[in-house]
Symmetry: C3
Subunit: 679 residues, 3 copies
Amino acid sequence: MNDFSSHAADLPAPTRFGWIADGIAFGADYNPEQWPEELWPEDIALMQLAGVTSVSLGIFSWGLLETADGVWDWGWLDRIMDLLHAGGIGVNLATPTAAPPIWLLRAHPEIATVDADGHRTAQGGRLAWSPSSAVFRRYALRVVRAVAERYGSHPALRMWHVSNEIGNENGRCYSEETGAAFRVWLAERFGDVSRLNAAWGTAFWGHHYTSFDQVEPPRGARTGHNPGLLLDFERFTSDALIAHYRAERDELRRITPGIPITTNFMVMNTPGATDHEVWAREVDIVANDHYTIGADPFRHSELAFSADRVRGLVDGRPWMLMEHSTAAVNWQGVNRAKSAGEMARDSLAHVARGSDGILFFQWRASSAGAEQYHSAMLPHAGADSTIFRDVERLGATLKALAPVRGTRVEKARVALLFDHDMVAALRSGRKPSDLVDPMDMPIAVHRALTLRGVAVDVLPSSADLDGYAVVIVPTLYLVDDALPARLERLAHDGAHVLVTYLSGIVDPENRVRTGGYPGAFRDLLGIRVDEFFPLMPGESVTLDTGHSASVWLENVDAHDAEVRARATSGERAGVPVFTRRTIGRGTASYLATRPDPEGLDAVLAEVLAAAGVVPVVASEPGLDVVRRVGEGRSYLFLINHTDAERTASASGRDLLTGERHDGTVRVASGAVVVVEEER
Amino acid sequence: MNDFSSHAADLPAPTRFGWIADGIAFGADYNPEQWPEELWPEDIALMQLAGVTSVSLGIFSWGLLETADGVWDWGWLDRIMDLLHAGGIGVNLATPTAAPPIWLLRAHPEIATVDADGHRTAQGGRLAWSPSSAVFRRYALRVVRAVAERYGSHPALRMWHVSNEIGNENGRCYSEETGAAFRVWLAERFGDVSRLNAAWGTAFWGHHYTSFDQVEPPRGARTGHNPGLLLDFERFTSDALIAHYRAERDELRRITPGIPITTNFMVMNTPGATDHEVWAREVDIVANDHYTIGADPFRHSELAFSADRVRGLVDGRPWMLMEHSTAAVNWQGVNRAKSAGEMARDSLAHVARGSDGILFFQWRASSAGAEQYHSAMLPHAGADSTIFRDVERLGATLKALAPVRGTRVEKARVALLFDHDMVAALRSGRKPSDLVDPMDMPIAVHRALTLRGVAVDVLPSSADLDGYAVVIVPTLYLVDDALPARLERLAHDGAHVLVTYLSGIVDPENRVRTGGYPGAFRDLLGIRVDEFFPLMPGESVTLDTGHSASVWLENVDAHDAEVRARATSGERAGVPVFTRRTIGRGTASYLATRPDPEGLDAVLAEVLAAAGVVPVVASEPGLDVVRRVGEGRSYLFLINHTDAERTASASGRDLLTGERHDGTVRVASGAVVVVEEER
Amino acid sequence: MNDFSSHAADLPAPTRFGWIADGIAFGADYNPEQWPEELWPEDIALMQLAGVTSVSLGIFSWGLLETADGVWDWGWLDRIMDLLHAGGIGVNLATPTAAPPIWLLRAHPEIATVDADGHRTAQGGRLAWSPSSAVFRRYALRVVRAVAERYGSHPALRMWHVSNEIGNENGRCYSEETGAAFRVWLAERFGDVSRLNAAWGTAFWGHHYTSFDQVEPPRGARTGHNPGLLLDFERFTSDALIAHYRAERDELRRITPGIPITTNFMVMNTPGATDHEVWAREVDIVANDHYTIGADPFRHSELAFSADRVRGLVDGRPWMLMEHSTAAVNWQGVNRAKSAGEMARDSLAHVARGSDGILFFQWRASSAGAEQYHSAMLPHAGADSTIFRDVERLGATLKALAPVRGTRVEKARVALLFDHDMVAALRSGRKPSDLVDPMDMPIAVHRALTLRGVAVDVLPSSADLDGYAVVIVPTLYLVDDALPARLERLAHDGAHVLVTYLSGIVDPENRVRTGGYPGAFRDLLGIRVDEFFPLMPGESVTLDTGHSASVWLENVDAHDAEVRARATSGERAGVPVFTRRTIGRGTASYLATRPDPEGLDAVLAEVLAAAGVVPVVASEPGLDVVRRVGEGRSYLFLINHTDAERTASASGRDLLTGERHDGTVRVASGAVVVVEEER
């Protein structure tokens, strides 16, 4: 197996680990404990048939491994580890802390989370534990050590999979113990309580604190809470969850320094409880779980954003898709089955954007349990099924893509800034309009760009932006003081910056920047706004560009910018909605509304044109085009999400069919083509 | 009075009791304690005017009978019992346990139910008690004994009415005491905790139990619970509630062995907390409460289903409607008044389907209290009112129908299988689609058949099905292992079986039957399904029959069946939606979608034609036709729910007008005709 | 400054106080503690620029004044009081009890309200205290005394502003301590528990109480509660809240007998927790907070109703608008900005209806805190902003209107009866239809009248009605026994009474008046109803007047009245919807449905014509016309809410422009004209 370099925060220096599979990892969560042991050989045989390389094992096994306090039963896990190894299948072995045993919950009910009204989470789900529980931490680390010591040198072991979707159900806890931890965190953050009072503006509604001991989590109070308190509680929660991850990781690293460590993120679970920008620095391999929403007709665009978002976090390390679904899930209102080819397109869209592993939840569909209707690689119907045949085909495809493993997605010329803190801030406290969804503009802009075949890097605003021709700042509500100057310099040096409404409004304490909106970006953009004009639900206006817009308008005074478009209907007719300021060799544009898709595309077209940014390759609209680049080689992924054939310009060998493409590649509706390019 | 036979489960042998009235019982709940005693004589006089034969007395009287712990005040009840007797009105005397006195709730707050988040039910409603409360049981049985001993030989007493709508507000309780009772129930059910682990599949999410002591009711857990736990908690709840009924009944039977005993079911209260198939075996007379939903344009069809469902439970005993409303209720968003004639049609539709009593909630509309706007026989306006005049007319009609009393509804040729367990299972745990309502297909099929004038018996799937020409299995999600073979044998012998989607999916532990859907019925139907394709809200497809369908499609492989219809639009165009397998002299058909009403009618028409099933009598569509049969006589009920005249073929004497019908009966819009047939 | 007379209930005799400003008071809540002290001089300077006369100070300052139990820090408040005085700005100094300090909440968590399920309100909001908390009362009165003693003779002090929006977040409390207070209140109200049982009809559902000790607040009970209990709990809550106000007021009066006292009502906050008819008697100056709902296209009509409602409470004392907003608020889903001129129209519409002060929440928009997006006089953008320029203009306008101060709105010829108790009763317990909103008909009638330029007085039903030509009784659900006879006498003497559906239905105990609806008004109206026919959502019927109607029909028997209109469609076609009985020289009409706006206007037109009521002055529809009258002078307010010019007949000097109007006044779209009339 090829290896990779990790620079996780706990490592003294970049370190090489072996990749978890030959080529692209393929597999699933595997829960053999749900089935009679007689079925296990069939599982292994079918895995081999499908080309499975990797399974995530033991995720919910704590109660079956530690059957009572300190009483261990390793037999079944020993046997399946050996069987998998004999079958040539690598194991991502989980620390089983996502689901504390029933005996532990009953002996220590205080480990469970408590909601904002004081209700303690009952047993019967998963992730019931609070990351601030000292008792839970003690028990969790003991089982982590036991697992690491027993299996750390097992030949099947490829990677540690720490717990599972940390923060998903245990996102926010309001217990007394959590309150105490929050106060410690605040004391470290602010040092002096007067600084907390100033940061949060506690004079409002008379919330003056005279000691950190007086602060409580934002529990049920019949009114909205202070936005500063809310945002800091989000940050504390994220830190507490990541601290739990780190505590487990540190045990694993100590015992098995040669085994890479990951945990499965959910970057599109918004408002998520964890700041993935921080967390990503702590893992050797970034892993993500991604599930599409069946009711979303543009779910492949949301998926592409997700994959680019993950890619923007890895900073040179590999990443992989740790979970997605072969078909329907079980937690949506109506659980739509995937369309023909959708599983393959979804999988390859992740690979195109850099994922070096395609894993599913789960291997064999459960007959019982809360997720008995979640699809799997092996459905209820068994191997004689469309799903399993598609899985076999996907296994073969991924095998053919082995050369792609370890290459990187080509750096884009467009950067789109997206921060966890922005989402958290925009959801912390009452805002001018509930219609502003922090995910809307980032995904809409990303979709418009990818429909044009233009590649885009989704980056935290703290990332190095040098070399980007275009930088897009979509509803980046909270920004630090440094970003505007950084963008000004970039523009001066030739970059083209596009900022949209509700960007730069608050400072890192969630306080409105006064003096005129958008506080942080007034100078950069050459505009000043004295009043927002949010549009009502269902309300839209026309623009002088012929497009329409909704959600937002504002009273833009473009004192140092050129007005490129105005609203032409409604009581705010005449207000600017799109402005441009020329700065040195670049520009800074401002979009003060939410245009319809065509209108947004026109805005982006203008910015791209100014920057001379063109598609990855010449291609027809609707074709998703991404290039992965390795040393001396490159691979062009062409994914056709439309219902008609699409063409693109490329030459080289088709990795999946072996055929040659000569100048023009035809991609059938719903199909994926991967071209090993001649460049 | 004529008598009847009970074979309630507590009786050593079938036993004869006197029927509660001469002819069909007519009356209401009567709550004289709400009114000054001076009004009581007027009540009696108006009851006599209206032809009232029976009142349910004392339902909420506990606090007025036992005014403090062990302190009794019988005077007022003595007086009204005597007055009613003097007025010739029979009494169904209630045990007053539906509403514990305030003093009891304050002395023992622990008798109240607790919700899934730990909130104890406060005083101020009704049915606040948990059936698992030992303290409540002790107090309840004491008042039952006191009432039985005092009034057991009162000449007005006709029947015991145990408590009231048991399980309605006290449906589910999550208290510690309930948890303990649940664990005892589980230990009895499973014997060994390893069997519970296997049955529920507790390996999922690591919920392995090592002792029954570790199980808790499914309290608030931030995630969905294990479907096996949920379903068994439903079954435990039903058993606990019925056990309370049995405890009261046993006291009554011991003290007054000659008085029949009932309690009022709510069979259409779904998801109800009680399994009426079990409960029906425990009463002498099955009694039901039924309220229509004003917003439902097909509420008369829902009523007909309800009445047939009750009838399917009685197994030879009489049944009666214990409560319905003369006009509007008070608990719907907008409480629609009944249309002209609707009260009479509703009442007679119950009689047609076997009810030997028509009672209302309540006699005199309350001026105060939580239900001050619930209609009554005597409205707020008093006797000079449309409602009271309609009540008088209904009294006269029921008097004329006295000969019908004691006859049985003619056995139908079509059986429709419907189980409480199916409803409970389909509502226990996440399912593929929220759009599948367990009541939808049963009622839709029933409605389509009755619109054709075809009679249908609604039966538990455990019922004896011999003799039925058609057996319909609509979304019978949970079935035991025996049913498929029973249906196969029936078909072999000439029956025509129709199974719809989502039938036979899980076993009695709520585990998916693997190997292909519909697990239990694959062989019977000659088909196999490897994936469900639930349709999205608002989505529909066309069929090659010209109809449309919604809610559901699936990937049917009709390997041993003939495809009779397919979908012709949408991305699943081509999948079979209706198949038929010939078995011996019969067939087994499968309907894999939810057709529109015409499409469903066409499917049923085909099955009926194959079976040679025809309407009860030749009649025009929309006329509800039911025949009750006694020794040497029969009565044909014709209820016209349409807005035009309808005709049917029948000859005999019109029980209501005394006129003769000769071959053709004309039923005016909204009218009801009952013909004593010449056969 | 001119003075005014108060006859607040605590004063032994009418007393003269100085008005708080020269002319109409203008200003805002001022929260200098949210800002660095260096900014204060700028605040004062900008206030002077804008013509601010009055600020409400210290509302949320408790925690900054009493920094620990009994530890005081007066410095900052001393300094800003002095600065304001030096700047010529008067202060309405608040008792800071709306927001108890954090240290108090932590030392005494039992002061916080508890919801119906037992959850105690957490810290972090405002008004978390229960008015029944003895501990809170003790601390609150101590800070009131401290503030009164320190600032009672400060020259900037103009008025006491007691707490803030009492009852808003602390509307209902279900704690044990509140329960105890409720029981005391009930014992005082009923004397004997048997009277409570009779009043509430506790026999229903067996809720018989044998002692006041058994009564609890209406906590979570899984069912609806007794309507009598619910209504009395509302009344108790109102009394408890007002009692808190009185306790604070009494301290202030004792220490500073020469300073007028107010508190800010929210009369349109329905269902509000306080009975403003009672409360208004307890203040020297009635003050109200009013916020429009951006999504309501008729919000100016709702505002006019609010202002007339407040005016109907003052009984000769002045009133003022204590809070409204310059632009968007922060607590609606989408917080609509105000249209051009809307702030000025809103402000002057209040002045037109008698307000002698126009204050805002707040002076300077907060950067932090829960309301960081609530608009202010000085927006985030600062003084260089449209909003501040509009504020300056408004200040100048109000200065020009100084002569209006102290005049009264001319008595109308139309009275509209509106009671807090009606709203509370209609919201206490299940009703025939959720579609009946107690605010709908009062506001709809008021709007129809004002669109015609007809003035209307909104009065409690207990008010003296002598001299009114028309009395309108819209959905006055609860009435006492005396009102019908009072109306009968008025009609006999020539008044024209219009009663609408759902009026007079219950008695003061919330019990239905039996014998036929509308119980209290049957004789007055000469009609009798035996059944309600509520219409379903979306359902409407046609009338023989050509209009349509929705929400409600009923079975009207017009035995002693003339039928003026009937329904002509739907299953109730033919029922009367509008009747008229002639009584002496007047009439009593009944409207039994909710007509569309044109239909309602036609009904009102008929009643007005019969009574000879004409507009204030001849004017075009849509012009809001109100006259204020002083000794020997009068002022005509003309507010044009339409999008076109409107004219009215008037002559005199234009107070705002100084021009003369001679017979016809032209009011531009969106404009306001105030004419000092020549009469």
